[in-house]
Symmetry: C2
Amino acid sequence: MAEFMTGMKRTNYCGELRASDIGKTVTVCGWVQRQRDLGQLIFIDLRDRTGILQLAFNDATDRAIFDKAFSMRSEYVVAATGVVRERSSKNPELPTGDIELEVTDLRVLAKSETPPFEIVEKSNVKEDLRLKYRYLDLRRPDVQDKIIGRHKIVKVARDYFDDNGFFEIETPILIKSTPEGARDYLVPSRMFPGSFFALPQSPQLYKQLLMLSGFDRYMQVARCFRDEDLRADRQPEFTQIDFEMSFVSADDVMEIAEGFMKLVYKKVLGIDLETPFRRMTWDEAMTRFGSDKPDLRFGLELADLTADLKSTEFRVFKGAIDGGGGVRGINLKGLAEKLSRKEIDKLTEWIKSYGAKGLAWTRLTAGGETSSYEKFLAPEEAAAVRKTLGAETGDVLLIVASDENKVVFDSLGALRCELARRFDLIDKSKPCLLWVTDFPLFEYSKEENRFVAMHHPFTCPRLEDLDKLESDPGSVKAIAYDMVLNGNELGGGSIRINDPELQQRMFKALGLTPEEAQKRFGFLIDAFRYGAPPHGGMAFGLDRLVMLMLDCDSIRDVIAFPKVASSSELMSGAPTDVDEVQLAELGIAILPKDDNRTKEKQ
Amino acid sequence: MAEFMTGMKRTNYCGELRASDIGKTVTVCGWVQRQRDLGQLIFIDLRDRTGILQLAFNDATDRAIFDKAFSMRSEYVVAATGVVRERSSKNPELPTGDIELEVTDLRVLAKSETPPFEIVEKSNVKEDLRLKYRYLDLRRPDVQDKIIGRHKIVKVARDYFDDNGFFEIETPILIKSTPEGARDYLVPSRMFPGSFFALPQSPQLYKQLLMLSGFDRYMQVARCFRDEDLRADRQPEFTQIDFEMSFVSADDVMEIAEGFMKLVYKKVLGIDLETPFRRMTWDEAMTRFGSDKPDLRFGLELADLTADLKSTEFRVFKGAIDGGGGVRGINLKGLAEKLSRKEIDKLTEWIKSYGAKGLAWTRLTAGGETSSYEKFLAPEEAAAVRKTLGAETGDVLLIVASDENKVVFDSLGALRCELARRFDLIDKSKPCLLWVTDFPLFEYSKEENRFVAMHHPFTCPRLEDLDKLESDPGSVKAIAYDMVLNGNELGGGSIRINDPELQQRMFKALGLTPEEAQKRFGFLIDAFRYGAPPHGGMAFGLDRLVMLMLDCDSIRDVIAFPKVASSSELMSGAPTDVDEVQLAELGIAILPKDDNRTKEKQ
C-alpha cells in the first residue's frame, strides 16, 4: 500500500529552487527521474513540470528513510522534505545544479512498473508506442512544453480579443446537418429515433446569426469536426480561433487579425512582427508562385512561357496551349552542377503526383548544355524561353505544360518548395507573413459537374464582379482573404453576403434550387429577412498556428490526446463497439459487413 | 438591392455618445428601433448593442436622405453619418438623451420584414416562439446582457486559473464510451463501421491522465454531453469549469475554488464574498435540512422524532421506524393562521411526488388545536414530539414518516424550501455559499441491486474508512465536496484514488469484475501502474453558475442557442433526417419504428 501525504504540504516546485534557498526547509513532490546508489550515498533526481532537483541521502539520514531511498525506481512518485544545501559537485547543466535537498522525510506516494520507454527529452521512440502511452509521453519535458505553449497562445488570443471588444460566445456542438463541404460526423438522437444531430465543421452559421443578433464582435476558441480521410496534418477534431465582426470591411478584419499575430508573437516568442502584412491577390500568388499560400522566403518564381510558344509545333507544348492551359517554368539559378540528370529524372517521377505528365528541362552547365525539349522547338522559340527565364550558364530550367492551368500551378508550386528545401534556399531568419486576397468565388468541380463555393456559400463576391455572377461565374472574385505563414495557410475568412437576394443568386449559381437551399439553410435564410448587418470574419487553425509557432513537425505534437490517421485514439482504443441496448435505444442497427459493401458500391 | 457602406466607416457606437461629443461628425450603425414621422421632422431611434441614439431629419436635410428616412421601418439596418447636436427636448431615461444626430448621410444596409415579435426588453412572448427566432430574441438588450455577462464570468475564470498556475488543456470530444452514470451520446465511425465514439460526459478520465502526466494544475472550460431525459435546468450539452490539481488535499482544492468565487463575484457583480465558506458534512446537511445542497438563508430545520416515537403503536410511524426508516418534522413557526387546513391538504398531495405517503400535521392556532395524528399517539408521545419541535401556539408541525430515510429527507427538504418561498422567509440580502463534505462513497441502487458510486468510481474514500470498503460499504464516506449557492449545487469534486490496488477494491465494491473494469477503463487502469500522484479537483456547472449570478430563471437564458426539453433546437429544427448515403457510409441503418418498439420492450 502506498503512503499518503498526510501532515505534509508541498512548499516548492523542484525546478524553482536556487542557491538563494540554501538553509530553507522545503517539501517537494514529483517523479523519480533516476536513482544512483553509491553505497554510503544515494542520489535521486526528482522531476516535476518545472525541472529536476537532486535529493541527497547519506550517513546522517535516518535509516528507514535511507532504506526507502534505496528502493526507489524510475517514475516512483514521492514527496520529500529536507533542507536545501550547497552541492559538493555542482552541475552547470541544471538550473538547480548548485544545490541539493538533504532529505529528512520521504514518502512513497505511488510505485511504478518499468515504463515501456524512458521519460527523456527528444525520445526516438516510435510514435505509435508514444501515443498508446500518451500519458507517459506527456511526461517528457519537451512534449509538455508544447502543450503549455499552446495554453499561452490561446490565453493571449482570448486576452487580445477581449481587449478589443469581442465577446466569446459558445455555439452548439450538437447541430443540424447541412451537407456542403466536408463530411459531417453524425449523432443519432434517442428522443427522435431516425433523426440525427451533426457535429459542426465550424461555427459559421451560428457566428453569422450572432452578427444578425447585434453582438457586433464575436470570438470563440471553437472545436470543429470533419469526417475526412486524414492527412498527416489533419485531425477529426480540431480547434479554431474564430471571430466575426459587423459593419466592417475586409481591411478591418485583417487589421484585427494582424494585431493578434503581432501580440502573440511578441508575448510568446519575443518576436516583433511588422504590420500591416504584405498583401497579394490570388491571381498574383498563383502566377508568380504557383500556390495560393506562397512561401516568400525564397525566389524561384514561375515564368509564363505560353506566349513564347504560342506557335510551336512541339506536340507536348502545343497540346497544352491549345487545350486551354499553358506552359510555365522555373529557373533554378546557378545550381546546374548540383542537380544531376539523374536527380531531374527522379523529380520527373515525383512531380507526376501533382498531375503533371512530366518535366521538361534544360541544364546549362559550364561543361555543356543538355535539354529534353529544345530539339523539338524552333531555335527562336528555344531562345525566347531562355530569355523569359533569364537563363545563364549554370542554370537549370524546369518546365511544366498542361492543358489544365491548375496542374501547371500545383506542380511548379510544389517543385519550387521542394527545390528550396533541397538546396537550402529558405531565409529562416524571421517568419514571413502575408495575405492572399481576391480568391475566386467558385471553383469548378469536375466530379459534380457544377461550380462549388471555394470558401463557403455565404462568401460575398467583389462588388465590381456582381454582374458576372450568372454570366461568367468562373471569373468572379470573392472578398476573401487567407493569412499565410511561411507557405502555410494559417487561416482565412471573408466578408459575408448580407443581402437575401444576393444570397439566393449565390445558391442558384451553386446549382441549389430554392427548395434545396431552404431545406439545408432555411433558418439562416429566414434570419436574413429581418435585417442582417454587413459582416465578415475569419478563423485561424489553432493547431497549425501552435505547431508553426513552436516549430513542431506535426499537429499531433501540440494536441494533448491526438488521434492518428485512421481517426482512432491509440490510448483508449476509441472508437469501440457498444452495447446492443444502446443502439436499440437510438433506433439504429449496424449493417452486416456485406450489406455495407453492397451499399457502398451502389 | 441594399446599399453598401463603401466609403463610410463606423466611428462610434450609438450608446456611447454624450453631450461632450456635441459638434463632432460621427458615423454610427445599427437597427431601427422605431421611426417617428412628424411631417416636417423625422426621428429614428437607432439601436446597437451599446444602446440607442436618436437620428434627426428636418428641413435642412437633403431631400433624398429625408425620403430614405421616411421609408425606414423597424429592424432595418442602417449606417448614418452626421453631426452630434444638443436635443431640444431631452430624454432623461436614455444615457444618450441629451443629444441627437443631425444626419447628413444615410444608407439602408438591409431591409427587414416585420419581425414575429417586437424587439423590446422584458418581452412576454412565449418561449417557444422566442427560441424559434432566437436570432431576434438575442437582439433584446436584457437577453444580450446575459450572454455578455457569461463572457465576463468565463473570462474571469480563465484569468484566475492562469494567474494561479493552471494550464488550460483541451481534451477530446470524440472519446471511448465508458458507460457508468448517465447515457452517452454516440458517434458512429466511418473508418471503423460498427464502432462508435462517445461524446464526453465530463473530461474526468483525461484530466486524471493529465495529472498522471505531471501537468500539476489543469483547467478547462469544457463542453460536456449527457443523453438524459431533460429537466427544466438541464441541457444535452452543457459547460463545466473543470480543474484538477496534483499533490493536494481537499482543503487545497476548496481554497482554489473559493478564490475563484470571491474574484468572480467581485469583478462581475461588485459583491465581496467572505472566505473561507462555511462547511457542513453531508450527514449534518441531511439531518438538519433534508438536503445535500441546503439553503441556509432561512431556518425551518428538520427535527428527528424517531426517538420520541420509538414505542408508538401508531401504525404509520411504527411501520416507518420498524422498517429501518424514521419520523422527522418541521415546525413552521408562528404561521398557523397563514397555513390553512386546505393548504395543508394541498401540500400533502404535492409532497407525494417526493415519495412520501402523506404529511402528518398539527395546527396550533390561538383559536384551537387540530392534528392529523395526535389522536393516534399516547399523550406522552404527542407531548414529546411537540417538545422536540419546540411547538408553541401559532405554530404548524409538519411530519413525514417513511421506512426509507431518503424519502423522509427528500420530502421534508423540499417542503422546507417550498414553505420558505411561500412565506417569504428567505434572506436575499447576500449570496449564501457553503461546502457540503464527506459524502457517502456509495449509494445503493435498488434497480441494479448493487452499490453504485455516488460521484464516480475514482473518488477516494476517507482514509479512516478504508477498512470498511468491503465489510460495510454503505457507511464509507468519500473525500468529496460540493459547493452550494443558495440551495443550488454549483459544482463538486473529490480527491481521487491514486493507488491501483485501492482502485481495484473500489471496482470490486461496485460489482465490476476485473475483466469488466479492464474493458471499460483499461487505459486508465494501465496508466495508474506507472506512478500516479495524489490528485483531486472539481468542476463548476458554468450554465448554472451564470444563471444564478445573473439572476435568471432558466439556464436557457444564459446559453446563446439552447435546446428545449425534447433535446431539439427549435431554430434549426435539429435533429433532422439525413441522407441514406451518409448512413450507408457509416455502416448503420435506421430500425423500422416497429422493430424499435419491440427492442425497447425486451
